[in-house]
Structures are given as C-alpha cells and as structure tokens.
C-alpha cells in the first residue's frame, strides 16, 4: 500500500518536473503574463494531484492536465468584466531587456504577438493556442476546451482572422517568424 503511494508520488513528481516548462509556455500564451501563467499551471497541477490516482493510471495524463488548465483559464476569464478583457497595456507584459538590435526586434515581435493575443476573446485565444502552439487536432482541441469541433473551428478561424487584421502582427508575420 505504502509502496504504491510512494510510486504514485514519484510518478507525479516526474510528471510535474517534466511537463512544467511546456505547461508554463502554454499558460503564458493563454494569459500573457508571467505570474498569471505560474498561477494557472500551479492551480492546474494541484487539481491534477488531487485526482492523480485516477489520472496517472489513465493513458493520457497530459490531455487531462490540458483540459484542467483550459477550464481554469476559461473560468477565470468568464468571471472578469469587459474591462479586464480589454487590450492590455504593454506595461502588464513581461519584457525582455534588449541588448542588440536583433534582440530588440525579436522582443518587439513577441510583444506584438502577445498584445495581439490579448485582444482575442478567451475562447478564441484558447483555440489558437491549442491548435497552433500545442499542435492539437480540432478534435483534441474540442476535447480540451469541452466544446464542439465546430466551435473550435469557428473560434480558431475568428482568432486568426483578428490576428491577421492587426497591423503590428501582420508586419511581424512578414518580417519575423523566420529569424528563429
């Protein structure tokens, strides 16, 4: 009994340490802010821990944690009023300290994208991040978001259309992207 518990704890620890960087990046794209991202990932992992006995033995604990994280993100945003969802001021974003011309340009590109993302609705942002960053299929994204495939398609399409329409991002897409 004790051995099984210890094994589960070790398994969970390995899961947390192994997935933390990727989850942080996804959470950052969802929230656009360092502390909010840390908070989102930590809260999600706490929920996963509470259900680890079941989740750990399932085939896809990663899909479960993604679902939990999207739910937490959606719930937080649904609570907020319109003004909280309004475009963020640059000062709320974590900025890189530029030291060379190229770094400055790259940091600007990132900020342009983060600002653009902040102008999407939470559901559009989730759809874009899951489809384009997590590289999930529409079906997998629908599962993570707890909605229909049609809703994922619609939210992703609207999100991308909005991103394309933003002048700052259009420029980034023209000049950036290939620098990495």
């Amino acid at each position: 009994m004790g051995d099984r518990k210890q094994a589960r704890d070790e398994e969970f620890q390995a899961f947390v340490i192994g997935r933390w960087p990727r989850l942080m990046r996804t959470a950052f794209l969802l929230t656009g802010e360092q502390h909010a991202a840390e908070d989102l990932v930590q809260t999600s992992l706490e929920k996963v821990y509470a259900a680890w006995r079941r989740v750990g033995s399932a085939n896809e604990p990663e899909a479960y944690v993604r679902r939990v994280m999207i739910n937490c993100h959606a719930r937080r945003h649904r609570r907020r009023l319109k003004e909280f969802l309004a475009p963020r001021d640059d000062s709320t974003l974590t900025h890189e300290v530029p030291d060379t011309g190229d770094h400055i340009a790259r940091a600007d590109d990132r900020r342009a994208l983060l600002t653009a993302l902040s102008q999407l609705s939470p559901r559009q942002r989730e759809a874009v991040v899951l489809r384009y960053w997590e590289d999930l299929s529409e079906t997998q994204a629908a599962e993570a978001m707890g909605c229909s495939v049609g809703a994922v398609k619609s939210n992703a399409a609207k999100g991308i259309a909005k991103l394309r329409a933003l002048p700052g991002l259009a420029e980034t897409m023209t000049h950036g992207g290939g620098r990495k």
Partner: protein, 267 residues
C-alpha cells in the same frame, strides 16, 4: 494527429506556430514548485471530501435553480425562484438564490442566477462562511482572510449554459453601497461561441420600475419590473428583487453579433 492534416492553411499554420513559439521565449520557466503543488493538491482533495459529504446541502440550497433547470424545455413561463424556495434568512453559511433570466441561444438553454451571502457579523461567522463558500462553488476574489468578509455581503452571478456553470460577476456589497435613485451598475458578459458581450447584467435600486439597455447597433431594450409572483419568460428581460440583497437586478440579452453598449434607469 497533427493539426496540419485538418487545415488547408499550412503556411499560415506554420507561421503562427513559429510566432507563438517565439513569444513563449518571454516567459521565465523557473523550477517546478513541486512541494507547493502537492500541498495545494492535498488541500483540494480534503475539500473535495467535504463537498461530497455536503452534497445534499448544496441541492437544498439550489432548489429554486435546479427546479427551474429541470423544467427547462417545457412551459415557456415559470415562476421566479425567490424567498419561499430558499434557505432560512440570516444564515451565513449558505447563499440565497434568485434566478434572474432564462433564455435560449442556438438551441442551447441558458440561465443567469445570483447567489447572495449574508454579511458575517464577526470573525467566527466569517470563518464559517469562508469554509462554506467552496461547497457552493463560490470563490470570493481577492479574499485572503476570513476577516475580509466581516460586514460585507457577497454576491455571485452564475451563467449556466446547458448545465455548465460559470461565475461571470462577483463582488462584495456593504451597507452604504445600496443603489438609489437612478444608480445603475452594468456588467457586459459574453454569450455564445463568438465571445460577443451579448448579456447585460445590471444592478439597480429596488425602487426602479423601468430601465433601458442600449446595444452597439443602436437598438434598445426596455425592461420593466416583474410584478411579484408572475412568471418568467424565455428571452424576456425583467427587473427582479433579489433574495438577500438590498437591490434589484435584471439580465437582458442581445441577438448574435450585437453587443452591450450602455444601460440606464428610466423610472
């Protein structure tokens, strides 16, 4: 399966994926806070057990709303859930519920309901309330200590779409916050998949008889006070008294593609 297989926009997909990957370089990854996660997880597990043992209480406290949800799809008129269906007044460890509106959107039923928690008189009552709130899905934002609740009544407005509950508005009210005259507090809330702010959720004085909502396409909705004891109609806004609150509320909805602009008390 790669997402690329389901899209015809490979270039765009690749470009956006690359940009997103670059944007993630802004985040500092740091060390995974494993111990904190475990501590938090244990707390949540303990709370879950508490929820399981209190499930009957939750149902009792939600009778008005559950009865309404259960009846959705039948009659198009129903009675507003208020006083008689709610727990005893002046109890700090249970909220009182009032349904504010019901409607349909693309065949999906939605409901907006408000729960009001009585203001605790002292720290002991506040602790009881803070312990009870998670059992009812209430998570007061920004409250760190139970003492923060003393003397304040908290309200939570929930949007229920096809059985999925989301808290869309919440906050404390204190005795001096009672709206009067033509005071109005409005909240714009998204409804539907497109994220448009199609719901206007408004708090106004208990004396208000008529209000008007203006939408961003220039159209308006006039909202009248619902006479006590009369039915609630789908997709029809009406001003309702709220059990446990010193104000009234209403919810008005707009068609798809139209968003909230402003609201005011007319009379």
């Amino acid at each position: 399966m790669s997402a690329d297989r389901e899209t015809n926009h490979d270039m765009t997909h690749g470009e956006i994926a690359l940009l997103l990957a670059e944007a993630t370089e802004e985040v500092e990854i740091g060390t995974a806070p494993y111990q904190e996660v475990v501590r938090g997880g244990r707390r949540r597990r303990a709370r879950r057990w508490a929820v399981a043992t209190a499930a009957t209480l939750v149902i009792a406290g939600s009778t008005g709303s559950l009865a309404l949800a259960g009846a959705m799809g039948g009659d198009d008129r129903r009675t507003v859930a208020t006083d008689s269906e709610n727990p005893t007044p002046d109890v700090v460890d249970r909220p009182r519920y009032t349904t504010l509106a019901v409607g349909t959107d693309k065949g999906r039923k939605w409901e907006v309901r408000i729960s009001v928690w009585e203001a605790p008189l002292d720290a002991s009552e506040a602790r009881a309330q803070l312990d009870a709130m998670p059992l009812y899905g209430s998570d007061p934002k920004g409250v760190r200590d139970a003492e923060d609740l003393v003397g304040k009544s908290w309200f939570f407005v929930d949007l229920v779409v096809d059985g999925t509950v989301s808290t869309v508005v919440q906050g404390p009210t204190e005795p001096g916050d009672t709206p009067s005259g033509k005071d109005m507090t409005s909240y714009a809330v998204p409804l539907g998949d497109d994220g448009s702010y199609r719901l206007a959720i408004c708090r106004l004085p208990s004396t208000a008889k008529r209000a008007e909502v203006t939408w961003d396409n220039g159209s308006t909705t006039v909202v009248h006070r619902n006479p006590q004891g009369t039915g609630m109609e789908y997709d029809k806004a009406a001003i309702h008294p709220v059990d446990g609150a010193d104000s009234s509320w209403f919810v008005a909805s707009a068609p798809e593609g139209v968003a909230f602009k402003a609201a005011r008390v007319v009379a």
